[in-house]
Amino acid sequence: MELIGQGLLEAVRLLLAGDREVWSVTWLSLRISATATLLALACGIPLGTALALSRFTGRGFLISLVNTGMGLPPVVVGLFVTIVLWRSGVLGFLELLYTPTAMVLAQLVIAAPIVIGLTLAAIQQIPDKFRLQLLALGASRPQMVWTLLKEARLPMLAAVMAGFGAVISEVGASLMVGGNIKGSTRVLTTATVLETSKGNFDVAIALSLILLVLMFLVNWALTWIQQRRVA
């Protein structure tokens, strides 16, 4: 217990002292995970919407795949992305391994199914009648989709939170594809693992607390956006 207290003090000290390394690690975590989440939204929302509104054979199977993907183990994603990015791998010529871009890529693979799955659920919970009514009132198909998305914005923001929460707290894939390189690919989670293995438990606890506070702030902002119009 005493150790956690020490960690708390260390966290406050590191932040107040403006420890450059801690700030840059925090900023990098935020940047990588935010980019991955936004990319996941950019491809996940259209795919999820398409999947919700279309009917074809094998749709149930595809949705099962997406639902499984929502729980993809980060280490598995890390392993496969690493192999693809190896110099001998398919995308080896890009020399992306051990860069922040590689981490964004791995986190995108983790977040995309979450966004697709939650978008699908958000659109599907809107009654079918509403959609038919829109079409009957003369809405074009893009107009109809746009209105549905607007209608589903509350659960969609939940998708943003779930996706972001999954990638910023993930460590397995970041460690593998990023390599935990100081000043380049070291993020809050991988730095926590390293400090623990070095025996610097107070610093490790401090980094964990910073991660928790960061996650809280982001979710707080998103919740504020989500609940604003409800109140």
């Binding site: 980019t35 110099r87 020399e95 390189i181 100081k182 293995s197």
Partner: protein, 276 residues
């Protein structure tokens, strides 16, 4: 609202897409002990400043470090498992092996020493006693240099360690020390990590200074035939840097300020024959 969010998203993507990596990258595959000790945090910036190259350090167990290098996924390797290294050199996967530095391994264990090994001159005999008395022993179990050394000692002792007393952690040295400490077990560790863990680990040194406990690090360049994109010049530059007199001078005093003693002894220019 969502539209605005997406716009912000696009800006973000544009801003954060990092510049494409150039061939000024050198990938160093090395072991956790060089990273955890903090030595690379000192040497790598020195090298980068001197050469303008940028080093990507991948610190894993020695087994994995060499396996990656053999696939051409790295340009240079800094590892500590002489017998395994020689095998990679013989197979032509690695080349130009040069000794860099050494430190030593120690056998630590609980204060009350149930196997009565304290002060034994030979590590092999100590392990035999631990096995005979079925005293708890934590092994790295991860094909790291430390694990390979431990396996070599068991082999010499003619024992195949097995049973409830033999715990395989499968983790790095730091975590393994933590487990040994909690379970009041024996383990083999490099002196540097043990010194770094004085605050959290209360197991004393029981056996030390036996010749087989020497922990020799060497640097090797990757054979360009291993893969299409090996940075030969960069790898050689780093290997040369590790044995250069300036670097060796830094290694010689590294750790004195923090632990009161140096963690490594520089030995550039020496060969295996000097350490029979």
């Amino acid at each position: 609202m969502l539209l605005r969010l997406l716009l912000v998203a696009l800006c973000f993507v544009g801003l954060t897409a990092p510049a494409r990596a150039q061939s000024t990258n050198v990938i160093l595959s090395t072991t956790t002990s060089t990273q955890d000790s903090g030595l690379l945090d000192v040497l790598v910036p020195m090298f980068e400043k001197k050469t303008g190259l940028s080093v990507k350090t991948v610190s894993v167990g020695t087994g994995q470090a060499l396996a990656l290098a053999a696939r051409g996924e790295a340009d240079v390797a800094l590892v500590h498992a002489p017998s395994l290294e020689r095998k990679y050199v013989e197979d032509g996967k690695m080349q130009h092996r040069r000794l860099v530095m050494y430190n030593d391994f120690i056998i630590i264990g609980p204060e009350d020493d149930p196997a009565r090994i304290k002060g034994m001159p030979r590590a092999v005999d100590a392990l035999k006693r631990i096995a005979e008395t079925q005293s708890r022993f934590v092994s790295r179990g991860d094909k790291s240099g430390t694990h390979l050394l431990e396996l070599g000692l068991w082999k010499q002792a003619g024992i195949e360690p097995k049973g409830a007393w033999y715990i395989e952690s499968g983790q790095g040295m730091g975590q393994t020390l933590g487990i040994a400490n909690d379970r009041r077990a024996y383990t083999i560790t490099d002196r540097g990590t043990w010194l770094a863990f004085q605050k959290r680990v209360s197991l004393p040194i029981l056996v030390e200074k036996d010749k087989p406990l020497l922990n020799i690090y060497s640097v090797m360049e990757v054979n360009p035939a291993n893969g299409p994109r090996v940075n030969v010049a960069g790898g050689k530059a780093f290997a040369d840097f590790m044995v250069a007199p300036e670097t060796q001078a830094v290694i010689k005093v590294f750790g004195v300020d923090k632990f009161g003693q140096a963690l490594f002894v520089p030995i550039a220019g020496k060969t295996d024959a000097d350490f029979p």
